[in-house]
Subunit: 355 residues, 2 copies
């Protein structure tokens, strides 16, 4: 059985790290005898937009929907296309139309990586952020009135549905239940955001009754971000709305020193549509074209894709290869962001060779 | 000329730290010959709610509006009253009805305090978060439909007005202009929250044209929280919406190790209504009644109040007294949260004596 993977590199360093992601995937699938077929698409990038006046062709849904997964680089180049156009025109469309309602991001202190937090060692920090990925604060409902006058008012709705909230909570509770510590932390702000957030809390309480083994706590998002810095060891599975999950899944990797190498999975758990795998980092126009972007986020996202497709062993081997290369500390190989003087290619090659 | 100060202790450790705040204020106003008259109110607490079925008496606005400032402890005790009721019934009413549209919070690495960030020294981190304090994500507009069914949907509006956005930006630009580094960072999320946040960006750009000396940058809130951890030295004045400012003004103090001692000012710059001064920390039911709460947040808020009333020298003297006691490192005096075995009172007394 062969899996069909759509590859979209996007913009900036996305274009540089995708080849290294593919190199690592080829090495590991060869070793584990897994058949992946890759097909590359040029849409979903700002250059495509400049040529066609839109981020995606009209039939993108038809073109992509039967793939088994999307392997995605990074999109956005604000000097070419405003972010809200490029992102709403591509990535956020995929998440919604392919109903990838789970955004899963590991926050793990890796060997060889220095945490910006004092005194934290590998093993101290190891948790997942589970983010709702289709609704909430990222709505397209709202508008502007009295435009251009002093009375100007702009409104945007946060929309939460029972379906949307319950399914992400269920996924997070299942994940917590499957882990040794069985701990779930919910991000809320029900003291200030007084309609949607008390509802979120209510649904967490309702869901918790079905998982008596899972220890549940909640924090308001303000103090929760503080606790990521002060007590990152407290966390096991952290679940949040679209916006809160977005914030926590950048802050978490920052606390583990891995903002440039963290992976993410945008998952449709039912498999009705392809899931999407992308690094947490963006397209980083400031370092694009220099060949120094760190490809680990892309490669690690490939490991999450293999896991999603059912190849746990291959996924583990890939993560181990990343860890081994990081641990080696070989400055010739590592990219500048993690203390080396190597290139995107030298690091990508070293990981592929380790497999 | 004498200033009238309304004192509301609220709940939990609010009740324990307020007397130390008053002790320090009395010491410093004596030394600088400033006349403050204090009047204490018992409303705005969960106990008041349990007795009266509301957080505030009907005529609270009349009772308080002619004071020169409100000196506030902390409110909330979730086991007695749900947070969204206690907070919307008190603190958030004051902020709105007294049009305290600026929430100002210093993030400063103090001598004697260990930052959780590796290798950061006093002097390395010293910035302000300026938070919009009356509108935005903290709206009371929205509701629920199809309640109790699978179709249940909950909606809450984020509301931004030109008046509301421009005035907080103006305050932040003025503040940046008055500081040596003249740097302003705007918190946005215009790539995901596609209606209100691009509007925020637009207003920042418009305001910036009036402040050519101020260097402006912006970050999406997700990467901004990461940069607080990775590069806290980048920041001088950070301005954000109600929610983003809330998050950043907890995370900032966490990065400086001062979450328990940071102060805040809720300001009506025009002086049409009293401004409100309160510590960043909450009522902390878990440690309430033990006499170990750190009173520095309350005392430092008193310094911000003096500054607001025009007594810069007295305010500086109060902050210096706090710094001196922290620097002394006297374990007999310091509270447990900052490494001592003293009490709320021992620390409060030591600061008052230093003045
Ligand atoms: C208690 C809560 C409503 C409040 C807020 O979110 O504004 C607090 O977190 C603060 O920052 O003052
Ligand atoms: C680019 C942006 C729209 C996106 C998001 O906010 O979802 C990104 O920050 C992410 O976390 O994947």
């Amino acid at each position: 059985m062969s899996h069909r993977i759509a590859v979209i590199a996007g913009d900036g360093i996305g274009i540089e790290v995708i080849p290294e992601g593919l190199r690592a995937l080829k090495a590991v699938t060869e070793r584990f005898d897994i058949a992946l077929e890759f097909q590359t698409f040029d849409f979903g990038s700002c250059d495509y937009y400049l040529e066609h006046g839109k981020m995606l062709p009209d039939d993108w849904f038809e073109q992509l929907k039967d793939f088994d997964a999307l392997f995605y680089g990074a999109v956005g180049w604000p000097e070419k296309v405003p972010d809200h156009i490029s992102l709403w025109g591509s990535l956020l469309q995929f998440r919604r139309r392919f109903d990838q309602y789970i955004n899963l991001r590991p926050c793990k202190l890796m060997p060889g990586i220095k945490s910006p937090l004092a005194g934290r060692e590998p093993g101290d920090i190891d948790f997942y952020v589970v983010r709702e990925n289709t609704e909430g604060e990222y709505s397209s409902v709202g508008g502007k009135m009295f435009e251009g006058t002093d009375r100007e008012v702009v409104i945007q709705d946060t929309v939460m549905t029972r379906t949307g909230v319950d399914r992400v909570l269920k996924y997070a509770f299942e994940l917590a239940q499957s882990r040794p510590r069985k701990k779930l932390t919910s991000a809320t702000k029900s003291n200030g955001i007084s309609i949607t957030m008390p509802y979120w809390d209510e649904r967490v309480e309702a869901m918790a009754t079905g998982y008596p083994e899972v220890a549940v706590d909640k924090f308001h998002i303000d103090i929760l971000t503080a606790n990521f810095v002060l007590h990152p060891d407290w966390f096991d599975v952290v679940v949040g709305s679209n916006l809160f999950g977005d914030i926590l899944s950048d802050l978490g990797p920052a606390c583990t020193g891995t903002i440039g190498i963290a992976p993410s999975a945008n998952i449709n758990p039912e498999g009705n549509f392809p899931s999407l795998f992308e690094p947490v980092h963006g397209s980083a126009p400031d370092i694009a074209g220099k060949g120094i972007a760190n490809p680990i986020g892309q490669i690690w996202s490939g490991a999450m894709m293999l896991e999603h497709l059912g190849y746990q062993k291959a996924a583990d081997a890939l993560v181990k290869a990343i860890e081994a290369v990081l641990e080696s500390g070989d400055a010739q190989v590592l990219t500048p962001d993690i203390g080396g003087n190597g290139t995107t290619q030298s690091l990508g090659r070293a990981i592929a060779e380790r497999i």
